[in-house]
């Protein structure tokens, strides 16, 4: 046996917290790599939406050349897929609690903030990896594999996923069972999805419904993604007007940077609240 290695655990420091964030992240990626089925099954639902719904509904629309309904749906389906993955990733903290591992993390001499941030970042990262798989399908719907477009889309997906994982981790501080957690996530995610413009244009909605869509955070992720996609495909103006109307507050066309700013702010608030909840609890 080797000589006894004595270790003095260092005082808490920013560097130590950073190590904690990194290892929480690393663990989640290890688990994700081990769990390849998750990535495959995660693709099935969006593929159905994209090909079945997209193709099916396209027959109702006039033929419009390069850009059609599938092009329109593509960013929405990408966002949806990433959101669902983010939801599952956030659920891992409930899972950790159920299997005791959360306790191992919470008794360590690191700040709870480091653990929460690590969890949120890893959730968002894993969801974005799912997004990479989605983007690989771009060719199927006539979206070019332009590196700038792809990176832009990934960035936006990451932001959206971060906000949603933050939301999930915030809930997980209070909700102790998987069933309740996924029930609640499903309940909030499904209406968000249908009221975000992911699957149909929001332009023709009655005003009460369109007000709701403006309160929906997912709207501000889907629209910038769609605008990015449409800036890289050639669509005739009529199609573009119908399919890519943008988001309007009253008559004001909300610019993309502001939309993304809303998402960033939302992510910050969610993660902040999650940290507070975990500090207070236990």
């Amino acid at each position: 046996m080797t000589a006894t290695v004595g270790i003095r655990v260092p005082q808490r420091s920013a560097r130590h917290d950073l190590r904690a964030v990194k290892i929480v992240l690393h663990r989640e990626l290890l688990r994700f790599r081990r769990d390849r089925m998750r990535m495959v099954t995660g693709l099935i639902q969006p593929l159905l939406f994209l090909l079945v719904l997209g193709t099916g509904l396209s027959s109702l629309m006039p033929g419009t050349g390069a850009a059609d309904l599938k092009t329109f749906i593509f960013p929405g389906v990408c966002a949806m897929s990433v959101m669902f993955t983010a939801m599952f990733s956030a659920g891992s903290i409930v899972w950790d609690r159920e299997f005791g591992f959360l306790r191992e993390m919470l008794v360590a001499p690191v700040s709870r903030g480091a653990i929460v941030v690590g969890k949120c970042l890893s959730g968002a990262l894993v969801a974005t990896l799912q997004g990479v798989a989605m983007l690989a399908l771009a060719g199927l719907v006539g979206v070019p594999y332009d590196p700038v477009l792809m990176l832009g889309l990934l960035g936006m997906m990451f932001l959206g996923a971060l906000a949603l994982t933050g939301f999930g981790v915030m809930l997980a501080a209070r909700i102790k069972t998987m069933q309740a957690f996924f029930g609640l996530m499903q309940m909030s995610l499904t209406p968000m999805m249908f009221l975000s413009g992911a699957l149909y244009p929001l332009s023709g909605l009655p005003s009460w419904l369109s007000t709701i869509t403006l309160l929906n955070p997912l709207t501000y992720i889907v629209d910038p993604m769609r605008q990015a996609v449409f800036s890289h495909v050639s669509a005739d103006p009529a199609v573009e007007r119908a399919f890519n109307p943008g988001v309007h507050w009253g008559d004001w066309h909300v610019p993309v940077p502001l939309q993304l700013g809303i998402v960033v702010a939302l992510a910050a608030v969610m993660i902040g609240v999650a940290i507070l909840e975990f500090r207070r609890g236990e």
Partner: protein, 338 residues
């Protein structure tokens, strides 16, 4: 990393300072008083056991000492730090093995330890050596690359003990370290704990409801309904409860009875050819008996009062009765789920 050198080195600090000092510690949940004003001191290097049925307040106490629960009253210092005011300092100096498993089954044994090392800020320069060392100590080095979900219950426990030791804590808390394991595995876990006590300078604070295991402790506190009802070495506790019973068979029982009375001042009883009497330390008494009795002895047996007798004397019930079989079944069921 300039501080790395300073981080590694001496394990024990503060020499003779007690490892744990508890004074008037209380915990109330609503109107229920789980722990009502207990106090004790644990010396460095000591193995200190909490013995009691489920619901006696053992886990509540351990959770307060580990900074997981905030006491309702009283104070506790662990490794020289206050568990409320200096929570992180306490955490840096303790290792924990919980009653319920806290491993990630998806990761390998080594990855679980690496996670722990990073979380506790173990200097990278020594992480690999230390991981190897603790894994060898619990004989899991060969299985380090296997996922934990393929480990048996005993192996998981050992891995958790290795993990608890990884950052060289001054105090290791073991909350029911062998609950739910079969007797053989339990014995082997104790071998490992014994080995680590020799290898590392460490104080062990443990809870158990197995009487046999309490024997491994230097001192034990018997807890009942939130109070410590007795605290001493196992031998002293047993001595307090009753003296050892010595039974002998002799060639001449009458002469033996007389000799015992005259030479040792002991009143013995004769039942069915067996001479029976009580002495404080039976095993030490036997050689004297042979030397000085002057009557041929054909057989001798010494029996000690067991900790069961001790527990009975202090709580008025056996630990098994106090526990209730339903509880055991719940535990088994919970374990089977994994």
């Amino acid at each position: 990393m300039a501080t790395a050198e300073a981080d590694v080195g001496v394990i024990a600090e503060g020499g003779g300072e007690p490892a744990i000092v508890v004074d008037g510690l209380e915990k109330r949940f609503g109107t229920v008083e789980a722990v009502s004003g207990i106090g004790f001191t644990v010396a460095p290097g000591e193995t200190f056991g909490f013995l009691g049925p489920n619901g006696a307040g053992k886990s509540t106490t351990i959770n307060m000492l580990c900074t997981l629960l905030r006491p309702s009253g009283g104070t506790a210092r662990v490794a020289g730090h206050d568990v409320v005011a200096e929570r992180d300092d306490v955490r840096r100096n303790i290792g924990l093995v919980f009653q319920d498993p806290t491993l990630d089954g998806y990761l390998t044994g080594e990855q679980n330890l690496r996670f722990h090392a990073e979380l506790y800020g173990v200097p990278r320069s020594v992480t690999a050596d230390r991981i190897r060392q603790v894994l060898e100590m619990v004989a899991l080095w060969d299985r380090r690359g296997d996922r934990v979900e393929t480990y048996s219950g005993g192996m998981r426990r050992r891995l958790e003990i290795a993990r608890g030791l990884l950052h060289s804590p001054r105090v290791l808390f073991l909350d029911e370290p062998t609950v739910g394991l079969d007797p053989q595995t339990r014995a082997s876990i104790w071998e490992y704990i014994d080995r680590l006590k020799r290898a590392e300078q460490i104080t062990i604070f443990m809870t158990t409801h197995y009487m046999e295991e309490a024997e491994y402790c230097d001192r034990i506190a018997i807890m009942d309904s939130g109070r410590i009802v007795a605290l001493d070495t196992p031998a002293a506790l047993k001595a307090e409860v009753g003296e050892d019973r010595v039974r002998i068979q002799t060639g001449d029982d009458k002469a033996a009875l007389a000799a015992l009375r005259d030479r040792f001042g002991i009143e013995a009883a004769l039942h069915e050819g067996v001479v029976t009497f009580s002495v404080p330390a039976g095993e030490e008494f036997v050689p004297r008996l042979f030397a000085e009795l002057g009557v041929a002895i054909s057989s001798v047996s010494v029996s000690r009062p067991s900790l069961d007798d001790v527990f009975m004397a202090y709580t008025g019930t056996t630990i098994r009765d106090a526990e209730g079989s339903a509880n055991d079944w719940m535990k088994l069921a919970a374990r089977g789920r994994r």
